[in-house]
């Protein structure tokens, strides 16, 4: 039976359960070590949560195709596969949260950021999400909420692997950082999501950040005045949401769960259409409907396999 993904701000118990599960995955070590993953420095165990950070960086740094790819489409971003790859990643996190929580009914909550985006800049940074009973607020390090780092408590939440200015993985041991509303002062709003919902086709040539269509609109490359939708949320949160290691901030998954909800709403409206199809040329390998999505902690899947997830989960609302 399908589980129902709830709004994080109207289902606070789901948000609290999410935070609890994240901390459990942060303290679960299944064997992989930094030395296995090419992370310089002393060989240390890598937690299940941190494997999602490494997976995201790896996908970001895997060009598709590896050569003759001037706009640098990669295995998870900047091309048609963006919504599908993140749907795959989110579901893997959800299944692992269910496992460590011992609750097969647990469903990832989403952050309806365009609802917050209807408020003033001051209201946006003061949303309930950022309160101590939410996921904590701004800071370097964050000093409120469930993800505060306490150097004297090894089980407290800490950032252990991130990327440097050149995008290289590196080991750190520090608190989470957020700079809410500092690099850009407003979130996307309902007009932005409505425009994305009306955007067709799903994607199209050149299948990059220069394409028109829903995928590029929701990824956030289309607006000439700055980052939009998904990209804008990353920039607005700032801190650890800025580099390729952005899953370090648990809000990453709340953001992408909302992106996934918008994609689901788009498919409800326009049909379960994905492009490019299987006959597209090899230069689109990794982005065609039957190509394998870059996997890390599980068997791979394909965009075709994730188009209809109604047997696994639904959303409590598709009003985006």
């Amino acid at each position: 039976m399908a589980i129902t993904r709830p709004n994080a701000l109207t289902h606070r118990s789901a948000l609290a359960q999410y935070c609890d599960g994240v901390k459990k995955l942060k303290n679960e070590f299944t064997g992989p070590r930094t030395s296995d993953l090419g992370v310089p420095g002393p060989s240390k165990q890598v937690s299940t949560y941190d494997l999602f950070v490494v997976w995201h960086v790896n996908a970001m740094m895997t060009l598709t195709p590896a050569k003759n790819n001037p706009e640098q489409r990669n295995a998870a971003h900047r091309g048609p596969v963006f919504p599908a790859w993140h749907r795959f990643m989110l579901r893997q996190l959800e299944l692992n949260l269910q496992r460590v929580l011992g609750d097969t009914n647990f469903a990832l909550p989403y952050w309806d950021w365009s609802a917050d985006g209807e408020g003033s800049p001051e209201e946006q940074v003061n949303s309930d999400l950022w309160k101590p009973k939410g996921i904590g607020g701004s800071g370097d390090p964050v000093r409120t909420g469930p993800f505060v780092f306490d150097p004297s408590d090894p089980s407290s939440f800490s950032v252990r692997i991130d990327t440097d200015s050149n995008g290289n993985l590196e080991q750190v041991q520090r608190g989470l950082a957020r700079t809410l509303g500092q690099d850009i002062d407003t979130l996307p709003n309902k007009t932005d999501t409505a425009n994305a919902l009306n955007s067709v086709p799903y994607d199209g040539p050149p299948w990059t950040v220069s394409s028109s269509g829903f995928r590029n609109q929701v990824e956030g490359w289309v607006d000439p005045n700055g980052p939009a939708l998904h990209n804008r949320v990353h920039v607005w949160v700032g801190g650890d949401m800025s580099p390729a290691s952005s899953p370090n901030d648990p809000v990453f998954f709340l953001n992408h769960c909302n992106v996934d909800r918008i994609w689901e709403a788009w498919m409800q409206k326009h049909g379960r259409i994905y492009l490019p199809d299987a006959k597209a040329p090899a230069k689109l390998k990794g982005h065609r409907i039957n190509d394998k999505l870059a996997s890390f902690i599980s068997p791979p899947t394909t965009p075709a396999d994730v188009l209809d997830v109604s047997a696994q989960y639904v959303y409590d609302s598709l009003s985006v």
Binding site: M60, R99, D140, S165, L169, R174, P227
Partner: protein, 148 residues
């Protein structure tokens, strides 16, 4: 995903990471460490003509090479894998943002205090309606770059 969903376990995670780690590490290695400059190529077709624009970047900050992957769109925007959600009007704007976001990577003097204090300079050139100051994120405690 519908009919063949795989349920994870600690053992399965270890198994699949072991299978995938080497492949992923080689992808990363192929992409990183671009030293001695990097060239981007943009192409377009216009009125039956094929346009190729090659641009070479050789960026240093205080003599230290910036080696992350730079991307140029056909609209002229500069983008960068190290800050994957941003777009810049120029490479200078990008490098200023890197200095803002990763100040510890550009500190001139090893041993200089790195208390995690924040940098208040604006991120020049970034296309944003109301760009404000970026802040330093990190206070590293491990690895060769630790300067505390």
């Amino acid at each position: 995903m519908a009919a063949k969903e795989f349920l994870p376990s600690p053992a399965s995670i270890a198994k699949y990471v072991k299978q995938n780690a080497k492949k992923n590490a080689s992808s990363m290695k192929a992409m990183m460490h671009v030293k001695g400059g990097q060239e981007t190529t943009r192409e377009d077709n216009y009125k039956g003509h094929h346009i190729v624009v090659r641009t070479r970047y050789d960026i240093t900050v205080d003599g230290q090479a910036v080696t992350g992957h730079i991307m140029l769109t056909n609209q002229g925007q500069v983008q960068y894998h190290g800050l994957p959600n941003y777009s810049f009007d120029s490479a200078i704007g990008l490098v200023r943002a890197l200095i803002d976001q990763f100040p510890e990577d550009f500190e001139k003097k090893p041993g200089k205090s790195r208390s995690g204090s924040r940098n208040s300079s604006p991120m020049g050139g970034m296309k944003m309606p109301s760009s404000k100051a970026s802040q330093a994120r990190k206070s590293k405690a491990l690895g060769s770059k630790s300067k505390k």
